[in-house]
Amino acid sequence: MKFAVLVFPGSNCDIDMYHAIKDELGEEVEYVWHTETSLEGFDGALVPGGFSYGDYLRCGAMANQSNIMTALKEFAAQGKPVLGVCNGFQILTEAGLLPGALLRNKNLKFMCRTVQLKVENNNTLFTNEYEANEVINIPIAHGEGNYYCDEETLAKLKANNQIAFTYSNDNPNGSLADIAGIVNEQGNVLGMMPHPERAANEIVGGADGLKLFKSIVKQWGEQHVNK
């Protein structure tokens, strides 16, 4: 399986993402600069964290204007897996690929620590390697990770099982319904504030994030290899 790691000016988790895929997962991966216009040849797209365009205006708002985003929207519409982490999640909401928006953390602080997440839905292409309701440890690092959407959208997210992860025992940013990560209606786009790519090897304190990438590869394999 071949992954693209999108790189914007200011992305800073792109190397972590590349490392997780290449060295920990053992799959193919390439960086794709934001001025590119195509994602042809890739099977999955990863939008990493960081401070794209300096986080000016709103986190992700300017990144959404990049050339590569048109290709990413087509890629997502084709049902291919798209994962956005942290600023990547913010970019996906600004692009309309995921509902809602990210606000400043409730306590106004930048938070950087490992948190416990509960796998709310293990029936997505990103979470099939986890147990239902499994509690996992994944690091966060953000100042604006407070997920918000209106009541109608929240009801839809719940009804369609689009909430993939919630904060388990402590909600670090004040997000609505303790949401840490959501998928789109089709289930092929996941956005989350915590960083699974930073939890891909026990040597860095845990490998709970690696299962997320393994889930993507497993599902892709079932669809493409065993036919």
């Binding site: 205006l57 709103r58 708002a61 300017m62 959404n64 204007q65 909401t93 600004e94 509902p99 809602g100 928006a101 606000l103 400043r104 953390n105 409730k106 306590n107 106004l108 918000y148 959407c149 209106d150 004040g174």
Partner: protein, 81 residues
């Protein structure tokens, strides 16, 4: 040439922790009468010669890029520059 002044504020229903923190600070130094404080953004832009309708352009820009209508409201004023 037109000068456009755009004011972006968080929707009323959205908690503004930044505004609350500043309000707390004002209270601390004796301004107990401040009942509410919200922090927004101010954008100023100049639009050159165009045959397009200014209101249409400004609204388009606000909806597409300058504001996030999920969480923010905006209003604007157009002046001769």
């Amino acid at each position: 040439m037109k000068k456009v002044k755009i004011y972006v504020t968080l929707k009323e229903s959205i908690l503004d922790p930044q505004g609350s923190a500043v309000q707390g600070s004002l209270k601390k130094i004796g301004y107990e009468e401040v009942a509410d404080l919200r922090i927004g953004k101010y954008l100023e832009l100049t639009i050159g010669e165009t045959t397009r309708d200014i209101d249409t352009i400004v609204k388009e820009m606000c909806e597409k890029v300058l504001t996030n209508t999920v969480i923010e409201n905006y209003r604007y004023e157009v002046e001769e520059a």
